[in-house]
């Protein structure tokens, strides 16, 4: 099992009030699954994603990634896991504005301590994979939204993580570009990666092989789609 989540709780203290963002979540994800986590805002899906991505730690329950319990790890150990195991793709791209595409893609390798030439080589490969070889030296503001998101995908892939974690990856894109990006995710999944997608759009979620619906900090439903995602990816 890649991800094992049992009785997960996350309680926020907002003023004097306690907010139960996650209220007992159980979830297993196997390697090379393509999972969409859906739910309205406030359902706890972002909190769950943050915890899976090791950006946040639970206040109760357990989360094991590749058998390793995450809850008790130090900041630096979490950073290490984010670096090695997680590839993030964000709704707002979150690229470094002053760095060109190549350098953005290199970033996880910088923190992994990969040497300069090796970094360059692997970053180029990743950029090639998303078809942006000719845009390598461009800064984010010289790229279209779709191109930016593809740079972000290359960055997520470059350190060969266990999980690609995408938070509303098409939220800032038009429908056609969104479809393009979803195709890219389909390809990534087919190459053996585990993809976890957080979205509130059913259209996007239908690309995934499994849809987990959340409401009020709990999992409402967990369904495997009849239609294979490869077909849904609309090649």
């Amino acid at each position: 099992m890649l991800i094992t989540i049992r009785g997960l709780h996350r309680i926020y203290q907002v003023g004097s009030e306690q907010v139960h963002a996650l209220n007992g979540v159980d979830l297993d994800i196997e390697p090379n699954e393509y999972v969409a986590i859906m739910g309205p805002s406030g359902s706890g899906k972002s909190t769950l994603m943050n915890i899976i991505g090791c950006l946040d730690t639970p206040t109760g329950g357990s989360y094991a990634l590749k058998g390793q319990e995450i809850g008790q790890l130090s900041d630096d150990a979490l950073a290490r896991i984010r670096n090695q195991e997680i590839g993030f793709v964000f709704q707002t791209f979150n690229l470094l504005a002053r760095a060109d595409a190549l350098h953005n893609v290199e970033l996880p390798l910088v923190y992994a301590g990969v040497r300069h030439e090796e970094r360059r080589r692997r970053a180029r490969e990743a950029i090639e994979l998303v078809g942006l070889t000719d845009r390598m030296k461009h800064k984010p503001n010289e790229l279209s939204g779709g191109q930016r998101q593809r740079v972000a995908i290359a960055r997520a892939l470059v350190n060969r993580p266990s999980i690609i974690l995408a938070d509303e990856p098409t939220g800032n894109l038009d429908t056609a570009t969104g479809e393009e990006i979803m195709t890219a995710f389909g390809n990534i999944w087919r190459q053996g990666n585990t993809v976890i997608l957080v979205t509130h759009e059913a259209d996007i979620a239908r690309h995934a092989g499994r849809v987990v619906r959340m409401r009020d900090g709990k999992i409402e439903s967990d369904t495997r789609q009849a239609k294979p995602p490869s077909a849904a990816a609309g090649q």
Binding site: L55, D76, R80, F88, N94, L107, Y111
Partner: protein, 405 residues
């Protein structure tokens, strides 16, 4: 996280925001610049003064009625003392066994003339024979002043190189007669050129026998005596011997203080050290203040930078940057920033020192310890004042940082 990456980011930020960087670094630049400029100036003076004092000869001291006067009150006390006479000098020659040379001397200013040429403001030096050894000149042509010239109060002179050139362009001055004030002197020698000292030529003089000076120009200067001891060890003995001789000649009782003064180059050195020590302290003070102010400005701009780049920090953390990676990045940035200021300050300071050396008579020598100090100080300031902003950046929560708009 490698250093190159951090330095690259820092230099990129510097370039991207030239005016802001300049204003940020102004304090550091001024601080380092003033340290370099002033210390280079002091260093130049140091070298110059110690060189000159060494030239004036090791083991030399100076006897005159007044001693080393450093204030008006002191001058009021000593100004009516009896003069030193040439007989005193003769007595010292007899009565100071540890003296290698006793040179009586007096100085005046006069106009020198040869035919239709004249040179104003010539330093006329009345000197005992052998004076060139303590004044550090060597003969270029002709001969030196001799004992006999002195005893007979001959009207002979040796000329400084500059006077010789101005009065006798293209001519050999030896044997010519030059008018100094009211008398004509036969030029017997020309001295080797010595160059400038604090912008003053050292070659605009005419040396004449001290007795000749006494005979014709008595009113133009007071007599003093330079004594050169046999060696360094015998300097204090020679001083004591001089004191004994002069007190004896002046019939001073055991409790009466000296009514003459003995000055060693050490006294001059001490005054000089006090003066430059003052400059030094003031400069260090000014520099310290501007460096602290510069450091605070750097801290401020780094805090602004951390806030502006909250999202970037979030991104980096999401990509696996540890606290120490972020800490290092911002520390390196602050240090790169302040070090750039330091280097700019060194450049401007050295430039100022060299410029001052070129256009003013004051000698300057770039002080390498000062350059080193400036660079080190500016780097330390970056580390010190960069620590707090860097620490703030390092402990940002990645989720909040990523959400920051």
């Amino acid at each position: 996280m490698n250093l190159r990456e951090s330095i690259g980011i820092a230099l990129g930020a510097l370039r991207a925001n030239k005016l802001r960087s300049f204003l940020t670094l102004l304090g550091t630049i001024i601080g380092v610049m003033s340290v370099i400029a002033v210390l280079s100036f002091v260093e130049g003076l140091n070298r110059y003064v110690s060189q000159k004092l060494l030239n004036a000869g090791a083991n030399v001291f100076w006897v005159d009625p007044y001693g080393f006067v450093t204030s008006q009150e002191q001058w009021e006390e000593v100004k009516n003392r009896p003069p030193i006479t040439l007989d005193d000098a003769d007595a010292l020659r007899q009565g100071v066994p540890h003296a290698a040379l006793v040179i009586a001397q007096a100085d005046g200013q006069q106009t020198a003339r040869y035919r239709n040429k004249e040179v104003k403001g010539v330093n006329v030096r009345g000197r005992s024979a052998g004076w060139e050894l303590v004044d550090d000149y060597s003969l270029a042509s002709g001969r030196l002043l001799t004992e006999l010239d002195d005893q007979r109060s001959r009207l002979v002179c040796v000329l400084g190189a500059e006077i010789a050139e101005e009065l006798f362009p293209g001519l050999d001055p030896i044997g010519k007669w030059v008018r100094l004030g009211a008398e004509n002197y036969e030029v017997v020698g020309v001295m080797e050129r010595k160059g400038k000292l604090l912008g003053q030529s050292q070659d605009r003089f005419a040396g004449i026998p001290v007795r000749t000076f006494q005979k014709y120009k008595r009113e133009r200067g007071f007599f003093g005596i330079t004594v050169k001891s046999v060696d360094q060890a015998s300097l204090p003995i020679a001083e004591q011997e001089v004191r004994n001789v002069l007190r004896g000649r002046r019939h001073l009782g055991p409790r009466v203080p000296d009514n003459f003064g003995i000055t060693e180059s050490e006294n001059v050195m001490q005054l000089y050290r006090t003066l430059t020590g003052g400059i030094f302290v003031v400069t260090i003070g000014v520099a310290a203040i501007s460096l602290v102010v510069g450091g605070i400005v750097i801290m401020n701009i780094m805090l602004v930078s951390v806030t502006e780049r909250t999202r970037e920090i979030g991104i980096r953390k999401a990509m696996g940057a540890r606290r120490r990676d972020v800490l290092t990045q911002f520390l390196v940035e602050a240090t790169t920033l302040s070090l750039s200021g330091g280097l700019a300050g060194v450049a401007v300071g050295v430039g100022l020192a060299l410029l001052a050396g070129a256009i003013t008579p004051f000698p300057t020598a770039v002080s390498m310890p000062a350059v080193f100090l400036g660079i080190t100080m500016s780097a330390l300031i970056g580390v010190f004042f960069g620590s707090y902003p860097a620490w703030r950046a390092a402990r940002l929560d990645p989720i909040e940082a990523l959400r920051y708009e």
